[in-house]
């Protein structure tokens, strides 16, 4: 049972609730290994995936999670909806509210869209990525993957490398790591850092090669060319030379350290193909964890609506 009705930012969950979500996800991960990967838990509940931005893994992950819990999932994609006829977000929200759904997962190009929906609807809202703001379920599945691979979260030093200023993944991961007692370290050229990196609550380093030997996790971000107003560096090759992860750099990491990436990857830019496909890359584990973590979030948000009374 979570105190907040929504998960819109990492502020909505406490450190204890993060632990509860990860523990619950572990039980759902077991279900995902079974031959019959379905539970009756959320039978009769309606979960709407409201995606105004393109997405493969997040939308499919939420969709699979809702199906495995026997909820009725409805997919909304902006390109095939009344949005192209000029319907506003608020009107879309009111329309959905009138059809009484229980949970809405929203992805939108503007930060704050989930909060706006929450004001217009009674149901729970899960942020599936809002602009360059936050993507909390991604941070939760990243924590889950780190905990599964390294056995703990507290005390980990997590290097977040690359396009910090356009990254909602970093926007959620930095506060999430701080909550669980890990240390986020931002590693990026100044053109890809926000103007005040200090207020994020993370260490900042410019030199990736210097940072590598100190890290437990090297988290590479996708360079978001589509969000950048102008090219933030002279060429892809220069970026790859200074900030790209390759086999030579991977060898500088401590032997236990893992390599992560939220996907989709620009192979050859922030990560070389041989690193992405190496045994130290847990990128596909992240995708796998995503389903279990989202099942846990749905279960904890939609279950126990009336009271927290223990059985």
């Amino acid at each position: 049972m979570l105190a907040s009705k929504h998960i819109m930012t990492m502020d909505d969950v406490t450190a204890e609730e993060i632990a509860l979500i990860l523990d619950t996800a572990e039980s759902f991960a077991e279900v995902n290994q079974r031959r019959i990967k379905k539970l009756p838990t959320l039978r009769g509940r309606t979960i709407v995936n409201l995606f105004f931005e393109p997405s493969t893994r997040t939308r499919m992950s939420f969709e699979i999670a809702s199906k495995r819990l026997s909820a009725d999932g409805v997919n909304f994609t902006a390109s095939s909806s009344a949005t192209v006829k000029g319907e506003t977000l608020l009107d879309t929200a009111r329309t959905l509210a009138a059809m009484s759904c229980d949970l809405v997962v929203v992805r939108h190009k503007y930060a704050g869209a989930p909060q706006m929906l929450a004001g217009a609807m009674d149901c729970s809202i899960v942020n599936g990525g809002d602009g360059v703001h936050e993507h909390p379920t991604q941070a939760l599945l990243d924590l889950y993957t780190m905990r599964q691979s390294l056995g703990k979260l507290e005390g980990l030093r997590v290097g977040i490398v690359g396009d910090i200023c356009h990254s909602r993944v970093a926007g959620s991961l930095v506060p999430a790591l701080n909550k669980v007692g890990a240390t986020p370290v931002l590693i990026a050229p100044p053109t890809l850092l926000p103007s005040r990196p200090d207020i994020l609550g993370a260490e900042v380093m410019w030199d990736l090669d210097e940072a590598l030997p100190t890290l437990d996790v090297c988290y590479l971000l996708r360079v978001q060319f589509e969000r950048a107003e102008r090219m933030p560096f002279p060429s892809n090759r220069e970026y790859a030379t200074l900030y790209g992860m390759n086999l030579e750099r991977m060898a500088k990491l401590p032997s236990h350290a893992i390599v992560m990436h939220p996907g989709p990857m620009n192979r050859g830019v922030e990560i070389s193909a041989d690193v992405a496909d190496s045994s130290r890359s847990v990128i596909l584990d992240q995708v796998e964890s995503g389903v279990a973590v989202r099942m846990a979030v749905m279960y904890l948000l939609l279950g126990g609506a009336d009271s927290g009374a223990a059985a």
Partner: protein, 184 residues
């Protein structure tokens, strides 16, 4: 509301004897241990299933596989309340065509057993499902009965029956708790 201990209905010796008898009854009903597997319901049912497996091994010399079931995701009241703690289910054997003996500490409304049967069925089609409980306290809300019962304990709905096991409680007993009338 708080609860206070009203009576001890089984002590350590009585529990030990009941479990030994249940182990014999399971073997008698199934003509040996060949086709059976135990599935304990979290959390005390798992400890009891392990104890039954030890006794069956001592009697027959065969090891029966033991699994653990968490039924949180199969409860019929998920919308009203959540289990405070979810454990991971572990069924380390194939369910297909086997006789599965569900093991729980207390049988009450039968709703837990309904959920446990659904959970087991998701692993395959068992040949049969049987139910062993240490205490049957009555007040069934579903058409479910136990095949093997340690002790029938008539109770009021206002009371609680608690099985204390050394693994969790530093004491070995079955006790009845009653409402002390005080707000907690």
């Amino acid at each position: 509301m708080g609860y206070r201990e009203k009576a001890e209905v089984m002590d350590a010796r009585a529990m030990d004897r009941a479990l030994t008898r249940i182990a014999h009854e399971i073997l008698e009903a199934n003509k040996g241990a060949g086709s059976i597997a135990l599935a304990g319901i979290m959390t005390r049912g798992v400890d009891m299933a392990n104890r039954l497996a030890e006794r069956i091994a001592a009697i027959e010399g065969t090891t029966v596989p033991v699994g653990s079931l968490d039924i949180s995701f199969y409860r019929d009241d998920v919308a009203i309340r959540l289990s405070p703690e979810v454990h991971t289910t572990d069924i380390p054997y194939t369910v297909e065509d086997r006789t599965i003996v569900l093991v729980d500490d207390v049988l009450y409304t039968g709703r837990t057993i309904r959920a446990a049967m659904d959970a087991i069925m998701d692993y395959g089609r068992p040949g049969a499902i049987q139910l062993a409980v240490l205490v049957d306290r009555g007040h069934r809300e579903l058409p479910i009965r136990a095949d093997f019962v340690g002790k029938n304990v008539p109770t009021s709905r206002r009371e609680r029956v608690k099985v204390l096991l050394e693994e969790h409680d530093d004491r070995e007993a079955v006790i009845i708790l009653e409402d002390d009338g005080k707000e907690e």
